[in-house]
Amino acid sequence: MSVLADKNSRVIIQGMTGKLGQLYSRQMIDYGTRVVAGVTPGRGGEYVHGVPIYNTIREALKYHEADTSITFTPPAVTKDSILESIDAELKLIICVVEGVPVHDMMIVHRKLRESKSVLIGPNSAGIVTPGEFIAGFIPPNAFKKGAIGIISRSGTLTYQTASLLTSAGYGQTTAIGLGGDPIVGLSQINALTMFGQDPDTDVIVLIGEIGGSKEEETAEFIKNDFNKPVVVFIAGKCAPEGKTMGHAGAIISGNRGTYKSKIDAFNAAGVPVANLVTDIPELVKEIYQ
């Protein structure tokens, strides 16, 4: 099994006619992801890789069944794309767009709370269920089917971690890129809960980074309410205070969001923490022994 997406997921691609949309939809289709339609306003009636394009999601849903969308639209209109997907009651909405204004996400979040949709991102690398489903900026060769769940704020570290695990003989059930922005949809805690309920996931690898206080809350949650083994890595031991490390989510302000406060929280919760990303497979091995 897997979480959130599998071979039965039926996907609509928002912004499929754009450069990134075309490139990554090709990869998704080649991998076996069921892409049923694309949506770009004004481009209805065209085809990309043999997939029909519609002007709106509602139009696409007249002709196709779908439960998932992925968004490749420009940041200025991404709020609207996500709201359209929520309104269409899609079960899973994946947003890989970088640079969505945070105020737009506050509007999205309000609607999201009142819906049954799960939003991944924005600024997510996407999601992979090896052998069944990929959506996003994903190098497929990093992943292999197995029993490890991966939850990560960082896209590139998701691939790095999966590749290290795959090389060490540990495949994955599903890997989720939660997104690096200050406000994202699916939280670490909700993602953990999903893996907790998945019978095929034995161990969860959680990749965090400096900034915010989400890891601290997650550590508290694992200590009190989570039963499966978790291994953690936090990127940013090297980060100076007060500097935004690349994207808005990763900033240490005062004594909040520091590497140390996160590591201390996981240590206190009894969760093994990898010192370097390359130490992750060893910690997973110790759990299996």
Partner: protein
């Protein structure tokens, strides 16, 4: 993007929030004229983007032109909180009766704005929250509805603000909320909000941090963006760059990976020169720009270009080879690790290059180790 105090106050004024009369100066010869307009007693405030400026001697009260000029001379070019002072704000001194605090911040955890009001202004809010919880009041606002009047009144009346000031402050708080929303603020703060002997209210200090991702729709605020190296690199080549002082130049993709690569270098005893997340820009101008940057910066003994990429590694490799061959006088060894999409083609492109500066590694650890060794030789 953080605004300076004088910029925040310019915005406050636009939204009808009263601020003391003030003039910004960046040259000594402007001082006399500024004081003639403002009068005495006055206050000179160093404009630096850091808290705790008062304790560091950045805020000074003066009573005469002589005193004001001496103080200004001393402040210009001085270092306050690690930052060089280049601008001074000269304001009329206000005879303070009460000091309050108003703030609005985007809260990551609840995914909405939190409005904070305190009757103890001029202090660190965290300090007030810990020491005097009854003097501070917070309210989570539904972004869709905005700050309702009753919420603004609740905040003001239950934070211990004097009854005779309450309605005036409620009105300012509502204006501050509109500013927060219309300016795509991450944070805006008035600390202290001052009531003078005549019961007039002024924002004596102000902060405004604007979401960088929203600057495309904030043309007026975008003009406040400083012309720094970091901002230019972001604007021209989509490079996120921070210098941290070592000798191993880093190029990577994604903030998490870049930090992990730096952590790996440090674990092998090396010193990263920088954080550089090139992202999708590495398929465009970012690679060339990064090499030029390292040459200009100096002190870089080796470049470590290490990533696991979900974007095309072959295109990134080609950009790197082209950049090395097209950058005149480039002699810095480059350790390259491309894993991910199209990694085999990427490696072929690197092997086919005639450049003697390229060293190929295959894993994050191997590449970090190799870079640290080469950096050691360069010393």
């Amino acid at each position: 993007m953080k605004c300076y105090e004088y910029q925040a106050k310019e915005i406050f004024k636009k939204y009808g929030i009263p601020v003391p009369n003030g003039i910004v100066v960046d040259k000594l010869n402007q001082i006399k004229n500024a004081f003639e307009i403002i009068g005495f007693p006055a206050v000179i405030k160093a404009q630096v983007l850091a808290g705790g400026r008062g304790k560091a001697g950045g805020i000074n009260f003066v009573d005469s032109l002589k005193e004001g000029q001496d103080k200004a001379k001393e402040l210009f070019g001085s270092i306050k909180k690690g930052i060089k002072v280049e601008k001074l704000l000269i304001e009329k001194k206000i005879d303070i009766k009460n000091e309050y605090y108003l703030g609005i911040i985007t809260d990551r955890d609840s995914c909405g704005p939190i409005v904070i009001v305190s009757s103890m202004g001029g202090m660190d809010v965290e300090g007030v929250a810990n020491g005097y919880p009854e003097k501070i009041c917070r309210e989570l606002v539904d972004y869709y509805h905005g700050l309702n009047d009753y919420q603004a009144r609740h905040l003001v009346y239950s934070s211990g603000i004097k009854k005779e000031h309450a309605e005036g402050i409620v009105s300012i708080l509502k204006k501050l909320y509109i500013l927060y929303k219309e300016c795509d603020a991450e944070l805006t703060e008035i600390n202290p909000l001052i009531v003078d002997q005549e019961n007039s209210i002024f924002a004596a200090d102000g902060r405004l941090n604007v979401d960088d991702s929203a600057l495309f729709r904030q043309p007026a605020l975008k003009l406040y963006k400083e012309d720094t190296l970091e901002n230019r690199l972001d604007e021209e080549a989509r490079i996120k760059y921070i210098d941290i002082g070592g000798d191993i130049g880093i190029i990577s993709t994604g903030a998490g990976m870049t930090m992990a690569v730096m952590d790996q270098v440090i674990a092998h005893g090396g010193k990263p020169a920088n954080f550089l997340d090139g992202g999708l820009g590495l398929l465009d101008k970012a690679t060339q720009k990064a090499l030029e940057l390292f040459m200009l910066r100096g002190g870089v003994n080796v470049i470590l270009y290490s990533t696991y990429t979900g974007i095309r590694g072959d295109a990134m490799a080609q950009k790197l080879v082209d950049a090395i061959e097209n950058t005149p006088g480039f002699t810095i060894p480059v350790v390259v690790r491309f894993q991910g999409l199209n990694q085999e083609i990427a490696e072929r492109i690197l092997r086919n290059s005639r450049s003697k500066y390229i060293h190929i590694a295959h894993t994050i650890d191997e590449s970090a180790k190799m870079a640290v060794e080469i950096a050691g030789r360069g010393k």
